[in-house]
Structures are given as C-alpha cells and as structure tokens.
Symmetry: C2
Subunit: 231 residues, 2 copies
C-alpha cells in the first residue's frame, strides 16, 4: 500500500476520536458513512473512500462495524504496537505532556525524561525519572529508542536535536518553536501552536472590520525599523 496522504491521516484520526466517544456513549456497534459524515462535516463518499483505502469493507444497508474501523485505524498507525520515546526538557510543558494519560491510546510510552537542571534530576514525574542530559545518548543507544519529544528552550534545541540524531533517533516531536535541521531520514513533526493562535487572532481581528485603516497603513512607507522578532 502506498503511503497515505497527511490529509487522509488527519481524517482517520478524526474518525478514531469520534468513534471512541461514540461507542463510549451509545450502545451501537455499527455506523454508516452518512452518520459519521454528518457529525464530522465530511462527505459520506469521502468516508467510504478513506475506509476503502485502509482495507475496510462495509456491509450493504448496515454500514461499518465500529470495532473493525477502530482496529484498522490502530493498525495503520501502529497504535497497538507501543513505541518507547524519550522526553527532552522537563519544564512546564514537558511536565504537562508527561502527565497526560491519553497518549497511551496512541501507542506512546515515555520511558525517560532528560533535563540539565540539577534540581530536577532524580525527581520522578508520573513515574518517569528525570535524568541528566549526559545520560541521554547512552540511554537512547542502549534501549534502541527511535522517538524523542523536544520541549527545550529554543537556544539549545538544535544542539539537542543533533545529539538525538547521532544517538539514533528517527522521529522528533518538536514543541520548541524553532526550525530544526536534521538528515532526510529523520522525521520532524513541529507543533507550532502560534499557528492556532494566529487563526484565533485573525477571527477576532475580522470582528473589528476596519479595512480602510488597513489600506491606509499599507499605503504609507514603512520607515520605522521593524524587526518582527522585537515586537
């Protein structure tokens, strides 16, 4: 099977999330493409295509078995085959992620955390020991870890990423708001939450509606020094 496009993966996750809530509430074991399409605002044809793409067969006049759909999605993503990961950076964000119980559903198992703050080293966060950053590379090598979660300050993220790659990491889930350079075979998934913030800002800005002001400003020359990083 050729790789699924990101847009398909995203819909699969939406189905999976919804079906989790759905089966938890209703006592039904099948669902039709129309039902799913209606709640998620996705065309029923699209739902059937997505299901077909992961090898699911529906039943005429009945729909799809919720249980089979969930199993197929878990297989596609490998959620039933837990993959160990290390957390780098044990600040507030690292803590929040470590404490979040829901990730196990997605196959994630955080097996160690690393931080360079001596006060944190040796402490436990939801059962995971925080170790010094020096232990990171040997730990990853010893346990053959492929995934790292990065929540370090921007200033050190690239250096850490280099060390992760040289230790054998194949995927980095990056919460540090900076672009990382890594070899082609290493996957970087950036969580740039500023994008979400920007979309909220755009909406709120639209409520103000002063287009003339915007055009007037644009017409003026841009003479003040304006490095956006300084704003």
């Amino acid at each position: 099977m050729e790789p699924l496009r990101p847009v398909v993966l995203e819909r699969l996750i939406r189905y999976y999330r919804y079906l989790g809530e759905f089966t938890a509430r209703k006592n039904v074991d099948t669902i039709t493409s129309s039902q799913l399409g209606t709640v998620l605002h996705i065309d029923p044809t699209q739902v059937r295509k997505d299901f077909g793409a992961i090898g699911l067969m529906g039943i005429s006049r009945v729909g799809y078995e919720v249980c089979e759909v969930c199993r197929a999605i878990r297989l596609v993503f490998g959620f039933d085959h837990p993959y160990p990961a290390v957390m780098v950076g044990a600040g507030n964000l690292g803590n929040a992620l470590l404490s979040y119980p829901g990730f196990a559903r997605y196959g994630l198992r955080i097996v160690a955390a690393f931080d360079n703050d001596p006060k944190k080293v040796g402490t436990f966060i939801t059962g995971v020991e925080v170790q010094g950053i020096r232990s990171m590379k040997p730990f990853i090598r010893k346990h053959g870890i492929q995934m790292a979660i990065l929540t370090t300050p921007v200033a050190v993220s690239q250096t850490i990423a280099d060390r992760l790659v040289s230790a054998g990491i194949k995927a980095i889930w990056n919460f540090s708001p900076t672009r990382l350079s890594v070899p082609e075979d290493v996957l970087i998934r950036n969580e740039h939450i500023s994008l979400g913030l920007a979309q909220v800002a755009y909406h709120l800005n639209g409520l103000r509606e002063d287009e003339p002001r915007r055009l007037a400003i644009l017409a003026q020359p841009c003479d003040e020094p304006c490095n956006p990083m300084e704003k």
Copy 2:
C-alpha cells in the same frame, strides 16, 4: 477583502516566522519570492499570490521589502492591536503557556488566570494572578474580554465553555482534548496534539513495514470487545 482561506493564513504565518529569523540574522531589507519559496518549499508564484492577496506590491528586479511584508501580515492578523485573553485552568499546561514569552508577538495578552484549586488561587504565574473560577464570569464581563484559553480537564471543559460563552467570549483556544459545542458565532480553535503524535506514529510504523501482518489481522473477525477509549 473576502476572508483569507486557512491554507493562506498558514503560509502567511510561515513567512512571518521565517522573516523574523531572517532579519534577525542577515542584514538585508528585501527578499524575493524565490528566496522565500526555496527555504519554505513553497512555489514562488504562490508567494507572490499570497502577498498580492494582502495588498503587497513587490519591486521588479528587487523583490519585497521585508519590513513591509511583516507589517502587512501583522495588519491582517491584527498582531499590533493586542487582544486581552483569560486563561482557564492553571495546571502544567496552563503554566507552560503563561510562561511562554513569544505570544506577545502575536498580539496575545493574558490578563488573568482562573482555577478551582484553592492552593493555586492567589498565586502569581509570570505576573498573572490566579483567581477562583467564580470570579471568571464577572471579570470577563467587566473587562469585555473576547478570548479564552482553555486548559481544563475534559470532564469540566464543556461546562466551562458554556460559562465563557454566556460571559461574552467570542473565541476559545481549546487545549482540552474534547469537542466543544458552542453557538455558531463563537470560534473554537482546537489544539489536538494527538494528530501530531499520530503522524509521528504513522512514520515509525512505516519503518516496520509488515503489510502482510496488517492484512492478516484485518481478515480476521473483530470479536474481542474493543472500545478504543479503553485502550
């Protein structure tokens, strides 16, 4: 101007982020669509179209003035017109977001935090006082706040969202991993980080490459009870 599509907004933010780093490093005040396109893997024609869509004019044989580009993007999103927001939930994630200095660049100003833990009430997190949840509604009304950031546990998120809406909130930046029901005129932006996790999982799962196993499993009937929420 008709509203910009989300896909355009996303590219605008990528330009904005890059130009921030770019101007911080290089001492150049113009950039061409090809330069931007190359680093961000976006077609130069697309860059010119996006810039045209927000009223920017380039200069033949020169490119675009970085300063003007940034100003235009800030105008589109309203980044220069700061909007106050309240944070609901002051746990690890709320703390992490409150401590993040970068949001000011995007016009966000968190003016208060609310939590129902008496131990947290009265404390200050990066200059913001944590108040009891009862103070929330009057505070929002009094100050005419339009935006809320939600980091509460799933169990209470809908209730809180209802109260936020009745207090006059027009946009919710939701970090609680649940779907919220709100009136049509209220914008919800969900930060479902599980999507990012799923994409990493898909990549790692692809490295294993055991398609035959997947098909073999799919061929079997799905007889074990399998509510995905229990996994």
